[in-house]
């Protein structure tokens, strides 16, 4: 059974051509990004199909998916809010904002809201330290910079109406 759409598979096949003959394993990270964008996270069936499309052993996909922090190998909400928790952002209030989001959504870092709309995570320095605190939202990975409680309220309300 196919979990990936024909267009995603086609896209992965196209990406394979960026790499030399016999080096199609290089397409694995871009392929996992596409698969995750389509499925929201990476269930085993999805990873198995990526392995199939790229002619790899499933284990080659699992070991890579679990190494990189961007890949969700457990279910996540529709919107994954990832707030930077590294030094420079903490010095300008990131920890207080993480706490604020926890209270607002009624979840802790690492958890998903009951309506499956939001997952809250922390990430390391997003190369945005001059305009922190900052969070990113997948699957487009849009950065929201210079965060305040007000801008978080606005953002969450907006995502709720969009959903």
């Amino acid at each position: 059974m196919s979990v990936l759409s024909a267009s995603t598979i086609q896209e992965i096949q196209k990406i394979k051509t960026r790499y030399p003959e016999g080096r199609h394993k290089s397409a694995l990270l871009p392929a996992l990004h596409l698969a995750q964008a389509e499925c929201g996270w990476l269930p085993v069936e999805t990873m198995n199909q990526v392995a199939d499309v790229l002619d790899l052993q499933p284990i080659e996909v699992y070991e890579v998916a679990t190494f990189y922090t961007m890949f969700h190998v457990k279910p996540v909400g529709k919107y994954v809010l990832e707030v930077c928790r590294t030094g420079p952002c903490c010095n300008i209030g990131a920890e207080e904002l993480i706490q604020y989001i926890e209270e607002k959504l009624g979840i802790q870092v690492g958890q998903t809201t009951e309506d499956k709309l939001f997952t809250l995570k922390t990430v390391e320095c997003l190369a945005s330290c001059g305009s922190g605190p900052v969070l990113q939202i997948g699957p487009e990975y849009i950065y929201h910079e210079n965060l305040t409680k007000e801008s978080i309220d606005f953002l969450i309300a907006e995502l709720k109406t969009k959903a």
Binding site: R23, K25, P30, H33, V64, G87, P88, Q99, E124, C125
Partner: protein, 444 residues
């Protein structure tokens, strides 16, 4: 006004498009390089004195000349756009604002190195930059700067963007190559160096975004003109990303050789410390370099004004100096807690250790634990020397420099701020009260 090489046209509207970029002199270096022999271009890069802008400061011309020319395998140029060193945000800025500056540099550099396929490995989280680069690359193909027989020459080049997956360690060049091959980002033992055994076992050069973006100016104006900018062996300009307790955080292009004092206090750059606070410390080159207290960052131990150069920042070695590193300049005012900041960075390195070497995998974890207990008021006096001891046992005993990157900040913070660590042990209530009472414990 100080010399601008990379950001001269940063405020021109539409500079992200090929059309406007070309109107402002963009892509001239491709034409010029193609009319020269590859050895001639390499000679200009050597003469320029350009040093790698990714952190280590290795001379670029020398690195390029190590590329194995005898091998009959294909050669690769891989751009390191993984930028994840805390405090560093110059490469993302450059790629998002002037993507063609990097693409032009990739073409000119790839030609010089004899590479016909090149990759830009961009940190996965920077999807916005990836989308911008991909669009710019399409424009460059259409305009004939990429693809077969570039501008009617015999030279052909394909250029691709490759997204990472979220892992600081993939900024280390051999981990980056593993990752680009579709594997976990575990650094390789060196030697062999990438110049001999790089991507797919082929001769490869890995360079930082800024390093590559500097090449067009060098080709257009000559290596001597570049070397005339800056001081001594610190030639040219450098992008510095400044953050922390300053009035104007942001990315600045400085001529190497301005004073640190000027950089922090002048309105042209950081604009001083807000709210009339005093400067306490600076981490001058990304989280991995030694922290220096205000008196040692503004002046060297011998009383010379400290300059923004590789040599001056390094003056005093690790006893009283630091490094220019990646150009991630983090400023701390008198209210900042050194112990808490060090704990945060150490947590970062523990989280990002790939786990291959036990001194790094275990040592970063132990340091994190010990720092956490000191920060939370449960530390012992002996913990301070324990930290120094663990840091020493990591240094020099690992496959890649992440071990040192984790150890140096610990060693330097204790060297320069020992009294503050002792104060945390003796009188935990004196600092970080809200952390002590567990209000922010969750973020640990």
């Amino acid at each position: 006004m100080s010399k601008k090489i990379l950001l001269e046209h940063i405020n021109v509207s539409g500079i992200n498009t090929l059309e406007v970029f070309v109107q402002h002199g963009g892509y001239q270096s491709v034409k010029k390089a193609l009319s020269m022999s590859t050895d001639e271009v390499l000679e200009e890069v050597k003469k320029s004195g350009l040093r790698g802008r990714g952190g280590a400061g290795f001379p670029t011309g020398m690195k390029w000349s190590f590329l194995d020319k005898k091998s009959d395998k294909p050669r690769y140029l891989v751009c390191n756009a993984d930028e994840s060193e805390p405090g560093t945000f110059k490469d993302r800025f450059l790629m998002e604002k002037i993507p063609h500056a990097l693409i032009e540099g990739m073409i000119t550099s790839s030609y010089t190195l004899g590479a016909n396929t090149s990759y830009i490995y961009v940190r996965g989280e920077m999807m916005h930059a990836i989308r911008i680069l991909e669009q710019a690359i399409q424009e460059a193909y259409k305009a004939g700067y990429l693809g077969k027989n570039i501008l009617g020459s015999n030279y052909s080049l394909d250029l691709y963007v490759h997204p990472g997956g979220g892992a600081y360690i993939c900024g280390e060049e051999t981990a980056l190559l593993e990752s680009l091959e579709g594997k976990r980002g575990n650094p390789r033992n060196k030697p062999p160096f990438p110049a001999v055994w790089g991507l797919y076992g082929c001769p490869t050069v890995v360079n930082n975004v800024e390093t590559i973006a500097d090449i067009p100016w060098i080709v257009n104006h000559g290596g001597d003109a570049y070397a005339a900018i800056g001081i001594g062996k610190s030639t040219g300009t450098k992008l510095i990303s400044a953050c922390g307790n300053i009035n104007k955080p942001g990315v600045y292009e400085i001529e190497l050789g301005i004073t640190v004092e000027d950089f922090i206090y002048s309105d042209q750059y950081c604009g001083g410390i807000p709210n009339g606070k005093k400067l306490k410390a600076v981490v001058a080159g990304g989280s991995s370099v030694p922290i220096l207290p205000s008196e040692l960052i503004l002046k060297t131990a011998t009383g010379e004004p400290r300059l923004m150069t590789y040599e001056s920042l390094g003056d005093g070695g690790f006893v009283s100096g630091t490094m220019l590193g990646s150009g991630g300049f983090i400023v701390y005012d008198e209210d900042q807690c050194i112990v808490r900041n060090l704990w945060n960075f150490t947590r970062f390195y523990h989280h990002e250790s790939c786990g291959q070497c036990s001194p790094c995998r275990e040592g970063t974890g132990w340091m994190e634990k010990v720092l956490h207990r000191i920060e939370n008021g449960h530390g012992k006096m002996s913990d301070i020397d324990l930290l120094v001891d663990i840091a020493k046992k990591i240094e020099g005993k690992t496959i890649c420099p992440l071990g040192e990157a984790a150890a140096w900040p610990v060693a330097s913070a204790i060297r320069h701020f020992r009294a503050e660590f002792e104060e945390h042990v003796i009188n935990p209530e004196s600092c970080c009260k809200k952390h002590l009472h567990g209000q922010l414990e969750h973020a640990h």
